[in-house]
Symmetry: C3
Subunit: 207 residues, 3 copies
Amino acid sequence: LDRLLYALSLLGVIVSACSGALTAGRRKLDWLGVLAIATATAIGGGTLRDVLLGRYPIFWIRDPNYIVASLAAAVGTLLVTRFGKPPRMALLIADALGLAFFTISGAQVTESLHSPALVVVLMGAITGAAGGVLRDVLSGETPLLFREGELYGTAAIAGAGIYLLAEQLGWPTSRAGLLGMAAIAIIRFAAILWRIRLPIFHIADED
Amino acid sequence: LDRLLYALSLLGVIVSACSGALTAGRRKLDWLGVLAIATATAIGGGTLRDVLLGRYPIFWIRDPNYIVASLAAAVGTLLVTRFGKPPRMALLIADALGLAFFTISGAQVTESLHSPALVVVLMGAITGAAGGVLRDVLSGETPLLFREGELYGTAAIAGAGIYLLAEQLGWPTSRAGLLGMAAIAIIRFAAILWRIRLPIFHIADED
Amino acid sequence: LDRLLYALSLLGVIVSACSGALTAGRRKLDWLGVLAIATATAIGGGTLRDVLLGRYPIFWIRDPNYIVASLAAAVGTLLVTRFGKPPRMALLIADALGLAFFTISGAQVTESLHSPALVVVLMGAITGAAGGVLRDVLSGETPLLFREGELYGTAAIAGAGIYLLAEQLGWPTSRAGLLGMAAIAIIRFAAILWRIRLPIFHIADED
């Protein structure tokens, strides 16, 4: 199981690095800049989690394989997009899986420190979503997080909540985790495929 | 006194959450996104303070009441704005009080670690202002901090400085703290009501 | 040597504070806001380095001279630009030197914690570049980092890599450090003077 989790976490890093490289590619950056933004996207969420929890050394200093994986993924993205259009739908699916894995793994790490439920959900969502926010801020774009209809942060919060709920109902951690990941991926897929949206909260400006 | 301080800190969190919810509401986010940005606004400043000082566990992991309070405030804001316009002036006043409390409490925590005066002032201002910066960055707006005529960061720095000065002059900590908070609130009120401004520093662009 | 390094690090802080003050000055902020952004620019990179490495107390809490130096530099910039145009080329040169020093010093601190090579390069680049990113985000500008043709982050990564390579080849740390700094400064100068650029990586948008 530990090996599976490690493989999944490397997969999450790889997928996030691809999405970071593609976002940076749309902003006309030089290729070393693309590598840097891809890496920031891939390790940003876990880094924020470790810093907020005071877990030192943070995960990619303890195990630089995460950086190697994200650099390799970014270089791969550079090469693939040289010879053809990036597979947009594949990327969206991969991005949803990355969000799913990072969120649940962030929640599990926080849980292992005996934090209260609310903190676990919040920290899971932060772990899942922070990499994408960092990617957008460094690329000079407004963050996609919580944007109209995207259900990005929403999916992370809901999935972490479902994971905790399942655990409270007596499910084993591993199954509850898979359920939470599935929930996150499904919510994102639904948002992408059928344009399902949460109600928008809108205040008319007074001035 | 400790209970009063705790109540004030929860009040600061509540007020900041309302301001975060209203800002997010102007950006057409879904309601879970509004909750998330409200929470980030409410706990952002204190989180940055704890991380910079290495105070682990950070305050909202130690006491999740802060998250409960900010979520409740955000839900309340969602409900109130459903049935009427938000009370703009009340919000500005509340926001000024939140800045006042966060800044002085940040300064006091830093002081308790025997940091030098400059660090105390700086950390107070960071605690007070970082939540609002996070709110603006996550909402995709340019940060209001230090913006023309707002006197936002300025009020925080001045108030923390006045607090330290009063202490140096022999005032007890509690009274010096109240003086500092009053100074911050008054400077912000003055900036809002009478449009009092600091001189703008402007460099003409050469190109 | 230790004194030289300390002097260089104060110089780096001063130069970064000037660049922060000038950037803020273009955004019509009040003068206390200019001081704050100048300080954030000057200490941002080293702060992020210390937080990511868990080195507490962080450098400017341990030694507030860094804050004094950056405030003095910002006040100096305010006064000088009052009486004349800022010396643009001098500033660009100084900025390149600041990037060079921060990057190599960040790499050296990370190295002293027995981190693997990739982490050392990455942390060096983060230390060098984060202050400028913070400056741009706080000023409401899109970050210059990795921007088309600037070779900013690129220079930092290349210089930290060259520093490590020289060490691997048996050079003493001090000389390898000077070589790395020289490489960073030269790459930036080349980018500015002769508009040398890395290939741009650009993906045509599908939609």
